[in-house]
């Protein structure tokens, strides 16, 4: 394997790497992945041994990019993910988890869990609809939806929560519209997303698990059914094309039903994009001078989104797996090793970003890690960017005033998703200057 630029030589064996739990106590890791990763950078540690399960944990930018691009570093099988999720409940509560049927179907239908030879073909089915040109074709719908949502919160008058009342309704109404799901269903889908979010908890309780499984079952049924109905109706070109694409993938183990496939793969669209937008607003509005700059110069909107997502990538980490023996910077990674990519840390590596913790609209663009990398780089990133930029443009328009009541609510601890506990805002319509 090519030596990645900037990568320091690593010891030959995983057992010689520093153990994560020796450097960062597990409760500190779970409470604040960002602070924990910053502590590791201070010690110049970028690749670690996961003392819990023999895998790797990668926080450094160069190693993350190199490993993400490696052809043999693929998806973790569904059995591993469901096994680990059950193990977390067992550990946190001593209780036996059960009833994971719909969760299993949700995972099995995701491109995220597929490996060659299935992966590339199925990914293409979704990916061709998320290329920049296709996404920009939907920008008009996004503009209409954000205008509608802002009109509602302006009319409501009082403080609202940016994630729950603005970003969430905006992205769910956008996607339900694209996918032919009745608009009246959007609020329920948003609620289910919130419940399903418990799948990212590091130490779920039995109640968390039960609520997550119930929400996943209802979500798969609701979205699956409404998508299937919209497709049968025959007037949604996107669904017709996705169905044709799926028909064309005739490999064993491939997704069989359009509804389940759409529900599983557009989950990030419904959920992660809303979190990304809320995080971007949180960072931008932390300094009124930055807001003023963007209001005066809307060409800064893309930088505002990029910088927000750099600092607070919503999906902080995911686990890949080596499918063959892999070598990186002298380190031998045996086939079957789980590799946890701490995507949010890669974006804060001081080897790559000056003063990485600071929000700067004039930061020179660098390759980010918020959307992963390599053959599995997030196919939804163009859509996420379009939706984020359309909303930020609307929120910073001359006729809109957003007052953030407090930026002091804290990040939700103990989850792989980075989101604020609350972002209370008042949105007002004002006369253009």
């Amino acid at each position: 394997m090519r030596r990645s630029p900037g990568a320091t030589d690593l010891p030959p064996s995983i057992s010689d790497l520093p153990a994560l739990s020796d450097l960062v106590p597990p409760d500190v890791w779970a409470a604040d992945l960002v602070a924990a990763s910053e502590g590791l950078f201070e010690r110049d540690v970028r690749v670690l041994r996961d003392s819990d399960g023999g895998g790797l944990v990668v926080v450094g930018h160069a190693a993350m990019r190199a490993l993400a691009q490696h052809a043999e570093v693929g998806a973790t099988p569904v059995e591993f993910l469901t096994g680990r999720s059950g193990e977390r409940v067992r550990r946190a509560t001593g209780a036996e988890p059960g009833g994971a049927g719909a969760f299993d179907a949700f995972l099995r239908n995701q491109v995220f869990t597929m490996n060659p030879p299935l992966h590339a073909g199925v990914r293409r089915v979704v990916g061709r609809h998320l290329v920049p040109r296709a996404v920009m074709g939907a920008a008009g719908r996004a503009e209409r939806v954000i205008a509608e949502v802002l009109a509602e919160v302006v009319a409501a008058g009082g403080p609202v929560d940016l994630a729950r009342d603005v970003a969430g309704p905006y992205v769910t109404r956008f996607w339900t519209g694209q996918l032919g799901i009745p608009v009246g269903t959007a609020a329920r889908v948003q609620h289910l997303m919130h419940e399903m979010n418990r799948m990212f908890l590091f130490a779920p309780t039995v109640d968390d698990r039960a609520r997550m499984l119930a929400a996943t079952a209802e979500y798969m049924d609701l979205v699956g059914r409404t998508v299937a109905r919209a497709w049968e109706h025959g007037d949604n070109a996107l669904l017709a094309d996705l169905a044709r694409g799926l028909d064309g993938v005739d490999l064993p183990g491939g997704p069989a039903e359009l509804g389940a496939f759409v529900a599983a793969n557009f989950f990030d669209g419904f959920h992660t994009v809303g979190v990304a937008l809320a995080n971007a607003v949180h960072h931008l509005y932390a300094d009124p001078a930055d807001v003023e700059r963007v209001r005066r110069d809307p060409s800064l909107v893309p930088a505002a989104f990029t910088e927000g997502v750099r600092l607070s990538a919503p999906l902080m980490l995911t686990t890949r797996m080596a499918h063959a023996d892999v070598e990186h910077a002298g380190l031998r990674i045996p086939a079957g090793t789980p590799i946890t990519m701490v995507w949010i840390a890669g974006n804060r590596d001081p080897e790559v970003h000056d003063d990485p913790g600071r929000y700067r609209l004039d930061r020179a663009p660098r390759l980010g890690t918020a959307f992963g990398g390599g053959a599995r780089i997030c196919p939804g990133r163009n859509a996420a960017r379009m939706l984020g930029e359309v909303a930020l443009r609307a929120l910073t328009a001359a006729t809109v005033e957003v007052h953030v009541a407090t930026t002091d609510t804290g990040w939700v601890p103990g989850s792989g998703i980075r989101r604020r506990a609350a972002i209370p805002v008042v949105v007002r319509q004002v006369a253009a200057a």
Binding site: P5, R65, A68, Q69, A120, R123, R124, G127, R128, V131, P132, R133, A134, M136, L367, G373, G374, A375, I377, P379, N382
Partner: protein
């Protein structure tokens, strides 16, 4: 070693010796050629290494794969007859002297 010439939006030129078997994307990224990003690392899935290949080299390149075609058709930047993804162009003796134009923006 065969040579590749990258012509940037402002006509700035970079000439690189590229070993046979290496992709133009890799050579460009390793040598910080402006305008070539290469987000996905060469899998034709990000579209951030778009270049326009000059004649007579176009016909010497293999036809684009399905992924490359999807990506090129999906770009917002203007795509012309010589448009290719630099990660799908592997240097070989018959490409010695290849000239590619780097668009003003990627994506």
């Amino acid at each position: 070693m065969p040579e590749a010439r990258f012509v940037g939006a402002g006509s700035a030129e970079t000439v690189l010796d590229v070993p046979n078997g290496q992709t133009l994307k890799q050579a460009a990224v390793d040598n910080l050629v402006p305008g070539i990003i290469g987000d996905c690392g060469g899998y034709a899935t990000c579209g951030t290494c778009h270049v326009v290949v000059d004649e007579p080299f176009r016909a010497r390149l293999p036809t684009p794969s399905e992924d490359e075609e999807i990506m090129l058709e999906g770009l917002l930047t203007p795509v012309t007859a010589g448009s290719r993804l630099a990660c799908q162009i592997t240097m070989a003796d018959d490409l010695d002297g290849i000239t590619v134009h780097v668009p003003e923006s990627q994506g």
